[in-house]
Symmetry: C2
Subunit: 310 residues, 2 copies
């Protein structure tokens, strides 16, 4: 059983109550506590030694990544992060100074994003360092952007450049909080998600939630320098475009808007965020799954996120 | 460096913002999002294989304990729990059915306490199972009960019976949510904490936060049957009273009220919760630390939570 099957089984019939607007299955849970203008966003995410970082990773970057992952999820709902709790599991004989530097990185990002760190827990974890962050944020009532809103004909956009994040970006990314809020305030964004599993996987989350398919234009997908470098440096590495589709941990925003808004969005974005790329990479179409259009050919992505490209 | 020293170092200068009423250092963080009548409680806690449970522990009880620990902290602030996120780190080759049973126990307790499970995460944890719960709750504005409110002369109360929880109660306890709310609604409770570290350790948290000392009457401390059994069954086990002071994971409430309210509280409690013991175990006194009074002798507890009893 893989992770997604397990989650599907475990989240089949979760207890609920009258506070729940959106439960498990989106970037954040959405909760209503009766505040006139706001709903609450609630999210947890973790990073684990040997999976998301190693003992060789600069500890400040581990802290940055741990919090940044949650912030990216709040951004993907067009929310504002407010307060976080930090749980850290430590093996015996931990180095307190090194752990302190994890917090330095975490606190620096929190300060930058006006997030209060309001507590947490340290505990033992015999197998290695385990950091779990719980984040509480808010979003304007009715302004939350879910995965399940893509409409037929929508233009699909992605921020930044994709692929090769293991070369560094997976530790250094900036959660797109301000960008997401600007998008939500100025455009009717139909669906949004942050890219953690890779473009192919995360687009599929939008498509499955929205009951649609997508067609991507190969030449429009912004492939990062890192993905190209990675492909060039080893004949064993996946092609750069495949890396952009499947590498994961880009922590960029993937969103859809009505096609009539596409040009206006591109123009306004360029003025507002001149240093961050925004690319229209395709459109929402009938059917299921992802089709890649490359000049005259179209091919379907298979279920595992890898392409059939020759 | 022990856990408390590490926490003290890490929480020295945490980022804060205008939502924070009470940050790190109490049972829960208290946050203000502008809701007229309510503040928010935010808490995280975790259980780890090999520390808080083993593979031999019935998985339903692991789930019960994981959520129950957080609920107990919300209870200790006189709060109402609302929604939780569940993070679970799994070693390779996990047994999905067994994990499902952890959720069964967790969901059962959530349902009973009207807590929504609104998501979470599964991830890899090479060393064993790691479960972290994040809990969001509410409390009437100004009604939260902190550790730092004990006044000179206050009577000290504890619910239930203490010690020997490893014989079973650490997995089976019922968080005192309703009891704490009733206490807060009907009495002026000055300070409250839930017993996770043991009576001596947790009372010290109240005393340090309040800047006071305490005198406990040895004969008044409710020693559990399990603590007595444990002491009787092995000459190596600590004496039953020492177990009641230091065993931890009782998940009972420890609280102080003005001495003039003490008798009224005992009477009202007996009518409201006839099946749960409430004991007046001592009083808040000047100075620092904990003094144990036993007939004509008084002795001071040392800093490690263990007694000097001969």
């Amino acid at each position: 059983m893989n992770e997604f099957d397990l989650i599907a089984t475990l989240t089949k019939s979760l207890p609920t109550n009258e506070t729940v607007v959106t439960g498990a299955g989106d970037d954040c849970a959405v909760l209503d506590f009766g505040l006139a203008e706001k709903l609450f966003l609630f999210k947890t995410d973790s990073v684990v030694e040997g999976v998301h970082f190693t003992r060789e990773t600069p500890p400040e970057k581990i802290g940055h990544k741990a919090l940044g992952r949650c912030l990216s999820d709040v951004a993907a709902m067009a929310g504002v992060p407010a307060a976080a709790l930090v749980t850290i599991g430590l093996p015996k004989g931990f180095d307190a100074e090194w752990i302190g530097r994890i917090y330095d990185g975490l606190n620096a990002l929190a300060g930058k994003c006006d997030v209060a760190i309001v507590g947490g827990e340290t505990t033992t974890n015999p197998g290695g360092i385990f950091i779990s962050i719980a984040l509480l944020g808010t979003v304007g009532r009715g302004k939350q952007i879910l995965r399940a809103g893509a409409n037929m004909g929508d233009a699909i956009f992605v921020t930044g450049e994709l692929g090769g994040s293991l070369l560094g970006k997976h530790l250094d990314f900036e959660p797109r909080i301000a960008e997401a809020q600007w998008l939500a305030e100025n455009f009717s964004v139909h669906a949004m998600i942050d890219l953690s599993d890779g473009l192919a996987g995360d687009l599929r989350h939008i498509l499955n939630a929205s009951g649609t398919g997508a067609e991507l234009l190969k030449s429009a997908v912004p492939v990062s320098r890192a993905a190209k470098l990675q492909a060039r440096n080893s004949t064993l590495a996946k092609p750069a475009f495949a890396a952009a589709l499947t590498d994961g941990e880009d922590f960029e925003l993937l969103l859809t808007v009505a096609s009539r808004d596409a040009v206006k969005l591109l123009d306004a974005w360029k003025k507002k965020f001149p240093k961050i790329k925004l690319s229209c990479i395709g459109k929402i179409v009938p059917g299921r799954g992802i089709i890649i259009r490359d000049r005259n050919r179209t091919q379907k992505l298979d279920a595992h996120g890898y392409t059939h490209f020759a």
